[in-house]
Assembly symmetry: C2
Homo-oligomer: 650 residues x 2
């Protein structure tokens, strides 16, 4: 009983102070209502725009216009300080990335089941627009594998590209328009936080699953199959591969593709070992294309069964405004596809941009990035480009090649434009197997085992979301993998709210601190008092009843345990139950009802209830519900004071 005595002495010494402190608790000013919080948040957003406008307003005429334009087109800012050295670095980086992204672009367009030139269009104009509007200095823009797969798997459910390629292309471009609109809207309305609904663990799993699906789809190009399933799940693809293998097939595609694949994988491996060889993967893919095209041209292997790209339409991006189908019966579906593509592409690009920005020590405004990517895709949809975004692998090459500004994107775009104007004929004899192997060589970068292992070590439930996304993408479809990931992540949050744990607190020796008796085994329980803390920030409808039952069970458990421990037939009865409310951020009507029920049960068993350290909203609501009067004013600032009251007021 020593601890209790010590506390009582302290309280006696401090005289009136416990009551004074309880008055502090009970007389706190009224907290802001949810309406005020909402209005505050909206006006906060508006005032951010106003601040920028105010900053601009202090300038006059032409300077004002210039500042305004600079805010929208950062190129006017960094363009003024552009040096020859910067240009040289950007030139090198741009050329390096271009050599990678020309074959990748054609491959990804095929993955998206569009004509090959669309991959080049998407690598030509969008990077130029991004270079003018974007804030990241490292991100390299172009089509990406996962988004291409997503578009093909979702749009082909509406229109089959093999029977109606024109209609399919129109829907993809319309989806791109919607994606751009959603992205710009997210940025302008500062809704960037919605992207965080996709947890990092879920993205890791989803990307890995999508990578395997993409890899399996490349088997068509690698083996040179004529017919292949449209489905994207592992089971269908495996069955389709087996069926196709039964028919006579030409192994020359496979030989060609595999040999260059091994070559490219070896180059990637070497470049990882030696940082100076960063240019190797890019050059290796370009070299593979050139060598294999030459080989097919010289041997006319296309007459011996090797599938080739054939005609790639020359010339710059044609206008595609007339192709956008806003009256289609599928408009709602297409808008949905646009939304999913917007979210996926933004997630990758913004996270890539942010991580490189923090490496290089500057701050990247996520919302502004979203606006620039959104406009890029909107204009892209007018110019025959489909969804473009920043990809991690391309950006890594860009950075390793020494880019300094977004000018590298300009260089890359111009290179692609030159290719479109002059070199498309050279791609006639490029084997499809090579495009397949280029895509396949990029896939290991998407499957991050180390990260998955780190997630497993740190947080098993996070890993569950990761695994769910992976298997969903693998065995069902890419969108399903995403939905599974989001669902698991949110179920996680909800389950933690609904079935919160409770912990009993004990006093740490020689202190006034009360802590979880399991976390701090040296904590000592106080006789006759049960101090409970609920491990949740909310006491709401979803957990109120559960918490009440848990507390009653704790009491019964404590009293039983006391009986067993002491061999004597003296019961250790709990006289005072203190709820440490330091965690509780908020309480709703169900929570208040369950506290009232708990108090009734306790009183009927001759016990008292006290509340310690309630937060602002909680004490306000408890006062409004007259609960403070109901428990006889037993509200304290600290648990120590609440323990002390047992002696005084029982």
């Amino acid at each position: 009983m020593e601890d209790v005595e010590v506390v009582v002495d302290d309280i006696e010494k401090k005289g009136e102070e416990p009551n004074e402190r309880s008055e502090w608790v009970l007389n706190a000013p009224e907290p802001p209502s949810p309406w005020h919080v909402f209005v505050g948040s909206v006006s906060n957003t508006i005032s951010q725009y106003q601040e920028k406008a105010y900053g601009l307003r202090s300038q006059s005429g032409p300077k004002l216009v210039l500042s305004f334009l600079q805010a929208i087109f950062p190129v006017l800012d960094w363009g003024r300080n552009y040096t020859a050295i910067s240009f040289r670095n950007d030139l090198l980086a741009g050329l390096t990335v271009a050599s990678l992204c020309i074959p990748q672009g054609i491959g990804y367009a095929t993955l998206a089941r569009l004509d090959p030139e669309y991959g080049l269009y998407t690598s030509a104009l969008p990077p130029l627009i991004y270079a003018m509007m974007g804030s990241s200095r490292e991100v390299a823009i172009g089509p990406v594998a996962v988004v291409s797969l997503l578009l093909s798997s979702m749009v082909q459910k509406l229109t089959d590209p093999s029977t109606d390629p024109l209609g399919y292309t129109k829907l993809v471009l319309t989806a791109t328009l919607f994606a751009g609109i959603f992205q710009a809207a997210f940025g302008l309305l500062r809704l960037g936080f919605l992207l965080e609904f996709l947890s990092h663990a879920a993205i890791v799993g989803f990307t890995a699953g999508a990578a395997i699906v993409i890899g399996l789809q490349q088997l068509k190009g690698l083996f040179g199959f004529q017919r292949f399933t449209n489905e994207t799940d592992v089971v269908s693809v495996t069955i389709s591969v087996r069926q196709s293998l039964d028919h006579p097939w030409n192994y020359s595609n496979l030989v060609l593709g595999c040999s260059f694949l091994i070559f490219m994988l070896a180059c990637r491996f070497l470049s990882k070992r030696n940082r100076k060889l960063f240019w190797l993967p890019a050059i290796s893919s370009l070299a593979s294309v050139i060598l294999s095209t030459l080989a097919v041209f010289v041997t006319r292997a296309d007459k011996h069964g090797v599938q080739i790209v054939k005609h790639v339409k020359a010339g710059l991006n044609p206008s595609s405004v007339h192709q956008l189908q806003l009256n289609s019966p599928y408009i709602a579906e297409v808008a949905k596809i646009g939304l999913v593509a917007a979210v996926i592409s933004l997630t990758e690009s913004v996270s890539v941009g942010r991580s490189f920005a923090s490496l290089r020590g500057y701050h990247l405004d996520g919302n502004k990035e979203m606006v620039s990517i959104g406009f890029m895709n909107i204009i892209g949809s007018f110019t025959s480009s489909y969804v473009a975004t920043g990809s991690f692998s391309r950006t890594a090459v860009n950075v390793a090649a020494g880019c300094e500004t977004a000018g590298s994107n300009i260089v890359m775009a111009i290179t692609v434009v030159i290719s479109l104007l002059c070199f498309t004929k050279l791609l006639y004899f490029t084997p499809m197997a090579i495009l397949a192997s280029i895509i396949l060589s990029a896939l290991p970068g998407l499957i991050d085992f180390n990260e998955a292992y780190r997630i497993w070590k740190l947080d098993k439930l996070d890993f569950l979301a990761c695994a769910g996304a992976f298997f969903g993408a693998l065995f069902s479809s890419v969108e399903t993998g995403l939905l599974v990931a989001v669902a698991i992540s949110f179920t996680n949050i909800i389950m933690m709210s609904i079935r919160p744990g409770t912990e009993a607190l004990g006093r740490l020796p020689e202190t006034d601190l009360f802590c979880d008796a399991h976390q701090y085994p040296m904590a000592v329980k106080t006789a006759g008092v049960l101090i409970i803390r609920i491990k949740s920030a909310l006491l709401c409808f979803a957990n109120a009843n559960f918490v009440r039952q848990r507390i009653m069970k704790w009491i019964a458990h404590e009293e039983e345990e006391a009986n067993e421990n002491e061999g004597v037939i003296t019961k250790r009865i709990i006289q005072l139950v203190i709820i440490d409310a330091s965690n509780l951020m908020n309480i709703d009507t169900s929570g208040i009802s369950s506290l009232e029920e708990l108090h009734k049960s306790l009183v009927s068993h001759g016990k008292q209830l006290a509340i310690a350290n309630p937060r602002w909203e909680v004490i306000h609501k408890l006062k409004s519900a007259n609960f403070v009067k109901t428990i006889g004013g037993r509200v304290f600032l600290t648990v120590a004071e609440a323990v002390g009251c047992k002696q005084d007021r029982v």
Copy 2:
């Protein structure tokens, strides 16, 4: 700077203790993993069953069998102590409730668009089964308005009862079977907590909306319209009423119905004023039926346009096992309807049972109740009864009439059985308008203005869920109202997790306590130190980035404010940022990443980061991620110690 000096002195006095306490924090034992928690929860459930089995095992042979049977059929328990006085009370109560529930039963069956006798069947057998298996002593079983409406509005979308009444009835009975199965499953698997997904505020709003919809549907019977819309939303019903009013209609129905409605409402009002007149509402409805039937019989008003019930099939509940449609193409839809009906009926019955049990001072096992109601409905579906449950109004009459045990249900059931055998012919001339007015007279009890006002006063967001459920049920459909309610409630929980507030802490004068500076205006900020607490139990993917940005903004805000307050051009720079982690129950990989990013940003600006009072799971994960090393071991048990370290370690 006085506060900081005082703390430093204290720490110097206590010597090594700060380090020792930090060791307590850092060397806590490993917390249980989620798998262990899950396994523990499952074995907890199993052990509860084992305890009961063990309690039984200590008995021998026949006693064991008896105890086992008593657990399943509580009637064997209270039946043994049944006295004559109990019988008298139950008899009175049962007769009182029966006089109310015979007309109500016919009316609710009509609301459910079944033949009238089904209402009597549902009041005949299910109460008998409940009396044998149920644990509540007050609950009165029978059909209820809201569930009847729910069934009719959902099943009529599958089969139109006006064109195919037999098929419709079969689907309703099959839905009842599913409802019973779900209810029993919830109880056996102890999933009762799932019911709490419907917050009390949502139920209040939903019930009020459903009551208005039910009232509007009674206009058909009250006015005697021939044709009426099947839709349940306010707009369709209003349009239908106006259209029907354009056609010639007979006002005798309206006169009859309204006069008795006024009579019954007056009786209800009187009984609320004077508690001794509890029997008035029940008798008034029976009297209305008898008087109006006589009136129609004598005047043969049915030939003058008064709609009458006509033939009510005599005889006991026929077996309906052959009517259950398990091979129907609608089986999935019917199962879904069964689930919704199960949840709604359980919610009402269990909450009614619990509130009366706590009033009368005994504990009601919610899961056991669910099992008994589930079996009741399963057997009911075999015997031509549709979903029956306990209703608040009927139970209130039961209690006011003095029931002592579930035997009142037996008396009520036997009364209904006698009516079915002997009195159905007497119902031939009962006007439909009377049934409509009986239902209408019960509706004011479902619309609880006081409760809605109390919710508005206590918690505006709860009220939003209430209003959403109300308008959803009113303007769309009953199921929509429910979905809206659940969605709003959960969005509430998720939004609180995603955009948590942050608060800056200050020291309370003359203490070592640090509290929210807004809640306690007397709190004093410490120079050079910013103490932040995140108002959320989780730092996870959904809020990690947001929290990090908020903290950076706080720092900028504090440094700016210092500049403005002091007229002198001395900057008050924050040197130490302390995160008070007392709220944080858990952190995931995204949370850890954002803490690492925060630390990098702070270090690049020459600031330090410290963590105070981390919880069990949090400190464990921070150690696993090597974050503790990253911040130089600055982990403290209390904020006061963390503040003290500024002097020592800067």
